[in-house]
Amino acid sequence: MDAETDARWVPVAVSADILDGTVAPARLPRRPIAVWRSASGNIYANGDRCPHRGMRLSHGFVRGETLSCIYHGWRFGTDGACQKIPAHPAVAPPKTINCGALPAMEGNGVIWAAAQTPPDKPADFAGYEALRSLVIAATPDAITHASDGEPIVGATKMRLDGHNAILLMNGLGPDEVFVVVLIEADLSVPDRLSVSAAVERLRRAAETAGNAA
């Protein structure tokens, strides 16, 4: 555990990509996680591993306000505690069985998670919302450099196809960055499409620069 880096908010998904009643895999810098949205629309995150037999919980299923493992149906609540073991319906699961609930929040159409509870809320980018996410096989520096971007607190600000954009970056490995692209909320659909295409060009430029170096 590294308190300094673990207790900070990391962008892990775009809100619109996780529908009500679904779960998806995501990554914190040093570990895989499962991000899920309950039937009532709340977002939760936990370790991507069922404590029973190690199955990835991101392959599981959401019912109501619970997440179940696809292997044996073990059901977990929003606090990560196991509520039900279907093979033993009469047995109350011991309190010690827990899939490790993690702090998770939403803002600007971005889902944020952290390995440990951060002291404050995720950065707010007033007037901006998430457009899309992508994984770029390059370093954060190479991405900033390829975009002529300007680092701001917790993000990189840049122009993409003539529009203001903010890139949130989550370094997954030495040459792999999960990126969420924020745009101004009033951008038209055609402009959104052109920003999305510009991000793909940026990805290719950053990856090519990395390969050349």
Partner: protein, 280 residues
Amino acid sequence: MTAEAMRDAWYPVGLLSDLRVEGKDSLLLGQKITVYGSKTGAPRVKSDGRNLPVVERFGHLWTSLGTPVKDLFTIPEADHPDRTLVDVGVVRVKCSPLRAVENFLDIAHFPFVHTDILGAESHPEVSEYKVEIRDEVDEVWATKVEFFQPQAAKSAGGGITTEYMYRVPAPTCSVLYKTCPPRPGEWDVIALFVQPLTEDLCDVWPWMALFDDESPITDLIHFQQLIFLQDRSILENQIPKRLPLDPAMETPTRADLTSIAYRRWLKRHNYTFGAQLVAE
């Protein structure tokens, strides 16, 4: 991870009906082997220029990298002349060979992985059953295993409570005996023979000896392949890849008694190729 103890065990390396005279390269416990069919004599398996011991049994060719201390196990029940013997083929799975066997020993996943075939979500309960390591034969046995199944076999008309017996006669092999819908009193035999390629890659060779004179062989094979492909989606997504033998790593329950005995038996014999001894 040392594989010494497992080198002396027998492993399946191909279907007798599908061997190539010119040879086919494969892996066994991480070591290169070549499997040769023969038009006139016996099939051969070579590794490092050395001829390995071979046995032809259950429709498969078996070999060992070391010096087997005992003969390859037998399945006397499978010898009944009325049985249909089914070579299912091979399924390559990116998982530990030991995890593949453990999954085969597990019934509690039926309602969720083989939904409405081998289990139903409305009937997930696993009742008590008996597990033992039979020292005289050095095998793991689970008996009196009962489970409700919507479609227990290709030959099953509707939902029935199926009785199972499981047997682990070799580190990467398991034999399952289950209620035979058309012949009460007899057991269908379904075996899982696993060829350990590396610690996290294996070829699974299912084999069956059934009382079913109605279903075409193709249907029987399709049924088993459907089941194993459903299992593969689990096996390739377990963390860690290797089977944890440290009891603190995972959380078994009473339904997992067979798996607990299997892990204990593996540890006792130092059968650790594909296992993880301490948490990483």
